[in-house]
Amino acid sequence: MSIKYSEDHEWVDAKEDDLVVIGITDFAQEQLGDLVYVELPEVGDECTKGENISVIESVKAASDLVAPVSGSIIEVNSRLEDEPEIVTEDSMGEGWFIKVKLSDPAELDELMDEEAYNAFIEE
């Protein structure tokens, strides 16, 4: 499986059929500027596609992380609570936010592939 992208600038990496890792894209990270705080959901929380699951605070402002898929949160990257700058340094890798067990894997098909996402941010 390749990495998929949402219109809210998250990446969704499907590790298994129903298990995904979610983070924000490099484009999003650049738009936000220096991050100073990340508020993560709790392990065990349910998330619903389109709803806010996390808050990302940059020097400038607070922005919401919108769930790109639905499911239950099985792991959060708690390193971000003390070192939000990891997102700036490596948004697609070490700076991941959450791991989600999908309730509806078909939602992945609604996301963009890399080519479509690159075209989307060009607009």
Binding site: G33, E39, V55, E57, S58, V59, K60
Partner: protein, 374 residues
């Protein structure tokens, strides 16, 4: 003076774009919010070396006439008549109800002429206010032909005095007319970052050349509005529209220090400005609200608008400015609180996204001022 709805640019606009700035609309102008360095590094650069800010959107107003100094005193609770030649003073335009219309810097140029620097968002209203009250006795000029740069930071003096040696002797809140590579510059040793530094007024034609000269020093980087705000916040300085507004008097905004002694109750030139009876009464008896610094617990920024509650969950105030202080590497806020809870013993909480964050009241500024007083 007409206020077009179209967005305006400053003489440095092309330089900002060429420097890779992120441009945003601000007070009717397209202004740089940050450069590729990013807000945090821009902030730190200003605290450690020297930052160059385009503040040309601010209003520069010349006020002259035989009675210009006493005339301006009728609009500000500040001593202007005795403002020495080429000295700069912080002042506030008050309203009939004692509120604050704007804050400003006033410099005495001599020859019954004052030079005012006012906030960008208020400049046309300030001009109309001056015209309405002083128009018959004074000449007024809102300078669209001048640009304004701020050079701020511990290396600002070194950079500028290499170009104009006489600025070295200037102390905080004094002014001087100097030439830099044959460019006429009107300089005040002032700024709004808490650091030593200068504001340089220059003609629009010479603006880019002057910026080029300053930027040729390896100490100097362009700094955007984002870092300007975090620097101002750490320095605990009031910002119009946040700590200052038309609904609160200078006393209610903890700006008693800016109200000159000679204009106070029982003094030689007591009152005689708009809203004087309300402000003088508050100076004697105290006010219902105060503006204080807050240190939130943890790392979550508590931004403006956040409600402040006491232990019982009763609202006792709100945050007027808040964010992250890069120098302190923690969140900091300024809040308007009911006076009765504004002492450091109060146990207070900020509400952020329905979470309660404990906040500690601390004395402003958050980062000590580094002004050069000689």
């Amino acid at each position: 003076m007409s206020i077009g709805s179209e967005i305006r640019i400053t003489p440095f606009h092309q330089m900002h774009v060429d420097a890779g700035a992120k441009m945003v609309p601000f007070a009717g102008y397209e202004m740089p919010v940050s450069y590729p360095l990013g807000i945090k590094k821009e902030h730190n650069h200003t605290r450690e070396r020297a930052g160059l800010f385009d503040v040309s959107h601010m209003g520069q107003i010349r006020l002259s006439g035989e009675h210009a100094m006493s005339a301006l005193e009728s609009l500000v609770p500040v001593d202007i008549i005795d403002l020495p030649l080429m000295k700069t003073r912080y002042a506030l335009f008050t309203s009939e109800n004692g509120g604050v219309l704007d804050d400003l810097m006033v410099t005495n140029l001599g020859d019954n002429t004052l030079f005012l620097v006012v906030n960008a968002a208020c400049k046309y209203d300030d001009y109309e206010h001056l015209k309405r009250h002083l128009g018959s006795s004074c000449e007024l000029d809102l300078h669209d032909d001048l640009a304004l740069l701020a050079l701020q930071g511990p290396k600002a003096n070194k950079v500028l005095s290499e170009l104009a040696p006489s600025v070295k002797e200037m102390t905080f809140m004094t002014a001087k007319q100097v030439m830099i590579n044959e460019i006429d510059c009107f300089i005040t040793r002032s700024g709004y970052t808490g650091e030593d530094g200068f504001e340089i007024s220059v003609s629009n034609q010479d603006a880019e050349s002057l910026a080029d000269i300053l930027l040729s020093s390896e100490e100097v980087e362009w700094i955007g509005l984002g870092a300007r705000d975090s620097l101002r916040l750490e320095a605990g300085l009031s910002l119009y529209g946040h700590e200052l507004d038309t609904n609160h008097s200078p006393v209610e905004s903890s700006l008693n220090w800016a109200l000159s002694k000679v204009r106070r109750l029982g003094e030689e030139r007591e009152g005689n400005y708009l809203g004087d009876n309300i402000i003088l009464k508050q100076l004697e008896n105290g006010s219902d609200t105060k503006v204080v610094g807050l240190l939130p617990e943890g790392r979550m920024p508590v931004r403006d608008g956040a409600i402040i509650q006491d232990e019982n969950g009763t609202q006792v105030g709100y945050v007027t400015s808040g964010g992250f202080g890069p120098t302190l590497n923690k969140p900091i806020s300024i809040a308007r609180l009911e006076t009765k809870v504004s002492n450091s013993q109060s146990k207070l909480f900020a509400l952020v996204r329905e979470k309660k964050i404990a906040v500690e009241i601390i004395k402003l500024p958050f980062v000590k001022h580094n002004y050069y007083r000689g």
